[in-house]
């Protein structure tokens, strides 16, 4: 269980990126965070990843407060961020140096097969397309079997077709070990197709407007009536998020499915 209690982040220049964020994410849950730019959604992820420290509140995994990067928490960024001097196999095995060589190579081979790039182990990152590189980045984060995987707009730099393909890949990979997924995205459809719950955030300071439970069976059709209805609801929340925050509470937490 990943839990955040009244988490706030104020930067040295006085900008309040996050204030009073309280959230619990159950093991194996897929949580999506949506919101306009500057609403603090990426900051939230970086705090959980331990890349930045919170200025207020508490972040804990299974009751243990987090201080810095945690071995059970992995992160995938918007860009693949593969290390250009390592081959694809070297990149995937980056977090596996504690294993013996045969064990590491077996894990890498399995991961390569799982992301559909079985023969790519010896290639350099520069030889990959954007979608392939992001799949390798996913494998690198998942091969260490984290309990929580954070994804910071992982597919936003890809074109629509490859994005849908990778969303499917993500669900398949998730179903292997069922880690908790926290997915930051500005793509509402992506959030609704993938997530169990969608957190809507608003800026100045970054905080949670609403948490919607998406009680639809998977796989979800992108054009289903339920999904489109939910999409309108989220869009409405985002539109109203700007001028007056209080209004948002008027919306029901659960959709009439």
């Amino acid at each position: 269980m990943l839990s955040l209690r009244h988490v706030g982040k104020t930067y040295p220049n006085g900008a309040e990126a996050l204030a009073g964020v309280t959230l619990e994410v159950a093991p194996g849950e897929i949580l999506a965070i949506v919101g306009g730019s500057g609403c603090g959604k990426s900051t939230l992820l970086r705090l959980v990843a331990g890349l930045e420290g919170a200025s207020a509140g508490r972040i804990a995994l299974d009751g243990v407060p987090l201080a810095g990067p945690h071995p059970a928490i992995g992160i995938v960024f918007q860009e693949p961020r593969l290390l250009p001097w390592l081959t694809v196999a070297g990149n995937i095995g980056f977090g596996l140096t504690h294993l013996s060589r045969p064990a590491r190579e077996a894990r890498i081979a399995a991961a390569l097969a799982r992301i559909g790039l079985p023969d790519y182990g010896g290639r350099w990152p520069r030889e990959l397309s954007g979608g392939q590189a992001q799949r390798v980045a996913l494998a690198r984060a998942l091969v260490v079997e984290p309990r929580v995987l954070l994804l910071d707009e992982p597919f936003s730099a890809l074109d629509a077709f490859i994005r849908e393909d990778l969303q499917g890949h993500l669900l398949a990979l998730w179903s292997d070990t069922r880690p908790t997924l926290v997915l930051v995205t500005h793509d509402i459809e992506e959030a609704l197709v993938l997530a169990d719950r969608v957190v809507v955030m608003q800026p100045k300071p970054g905080r949670i407007t609403q948490v919607l439970t998406i009680d639809l069976p998977r796989p979800r059709a992108r054009t289903g009536a339920d999904l489109l209805h939910l999409k309108q609801q989220v869009l409405g929340l985002l539109r109203h998020a700007r001028p007056a925050a209080a209004k948002a509470n008027a919306y029901a937490a659960s959709p009439a499915a």
Partner: protein, 289 residues
């Protein structure tokens, strides 16, 4: 084109494209050779035909004979050894100092704030200006020469190392941090490989400056070394000897630079822009789909 047709067809299209590239690369290499070779030939013919007096600018044949003469007497090997020994010691010392200072200032902001302004000020001094002082400090023998070379080498290496460390992509460092690498592991697994390409460039410019300073060093009263051949050739009016020494300098400079690049190449195979790309040619990017 017969080279291309002679290839077994099973090698496929990319291989053929590689071959074509290689042929074009060789073509350009030959083209680059055309100008100096043509100029040398023209000068030789001009002197032979009596159109020019070759005394102050000896033609290639005289130059060749002088080189051969120096080589046969064993003088050339002696002078090359002396110069190479000074160069090696000065370069090693300069690289060591430049790297150590670059790593320290690049890693610790406090050290940078304390040292960088002073180092930049020292760098602004034309290094030849140190010569009189170095002679007073270290004498006129090897120590002062090696120190001068080391000073020349240290600054470009320092600047390059500092710059490379300072410009390492923060996003790649975050990958290391998210895998909980400690300071040392981060340096070894992320910073070192990220810095390496720039560091090699810094070493190369250090080497180039080292060759400059070895000449300056040997001007200050050396009794052997290629720089001595230059001074000797001027004082005794032997332009062919001067040109011969210059030629050897050019060859040694190019040779050592090539060796440095070759030594670094296995570690830089991952780079997008490899040395084997023709200058001015966009780097090839394979797009497997």
């Amino acid at each position: 084109m017969s080279h291309v047709e002679g290839l077994p067809l099973t090698r496929g299209v990319p291989q053929r494209a590689d071959t074509r590239l290689r042929i074009r690369r060789q073509g350009r290499w030959l083209l680059g050779l055309l100008v100096p070779a043509g100029a040398a030939l023209a000068w030789e013919l001009a002197v032979r035909a009596g159109l020019a007096n070759g005394r102050l600018m000896p033609p290639p044949s005289v130059l060749g004979a002088t080189l051969l003469d120096l080589a046969q007497g064993g003088d050339l090997a002696l002078h090359i050894r002396a110069t190479l020994a000074r160069m090696a010691a000065g370069f090693a010392l300069g690289v060591l100092a430049g790297t150590a200072l670059g790593v320290l200032t690049g890693t610790f902001a406090g050290v940078r704030a304390a040292l960088d302004p002073t180092l930049q000020a020292l760098r602004a001094i034309p290094s030849i200006a140190w010569v009189p002082l170095f002679i007073l400090w270290f004498g006129i023998f090897e120590a002062s020469k090696i120190m001068l070379i080391a000073v020349g080498v240290a600054f470009p290496v320092y600047l390059g190392t500092l710059g490379a460390i300072r410009t390492v992509d923060r996003r790649i460092v975050e990958v290391g941090r998210s895998f909980r690498l400690g300071r040392l592991a981060l340096a070894r697994r992320i910073l070192f490989p990220a810095v390496l390409p720039h560091y090699v460039v810094a070493l190369r410019s250090g080497l180039g400056l080292g060759w400059m300073f070895v000449v300056a060093a040997e001007f200050m009263g050396a009794s052997e070394g290629l720089g001595y051949l230059l001074v000797d050739g001027q004082q005794l009016g032997k332009p062919a000897q001067i040109l011969a020494a210059i030629l050897v300098f050019a060859l040694l400079g190019k040779l050592t630079d090539t060796l440095l690049v070759a030594a670094a190449a296995p570690f830089l195979r991952w780079q997008d822009v490899a040395q084997d790309v023709v200058p001015g040619e966009p780097p090839r990017r394979r797009e497997p789909c």
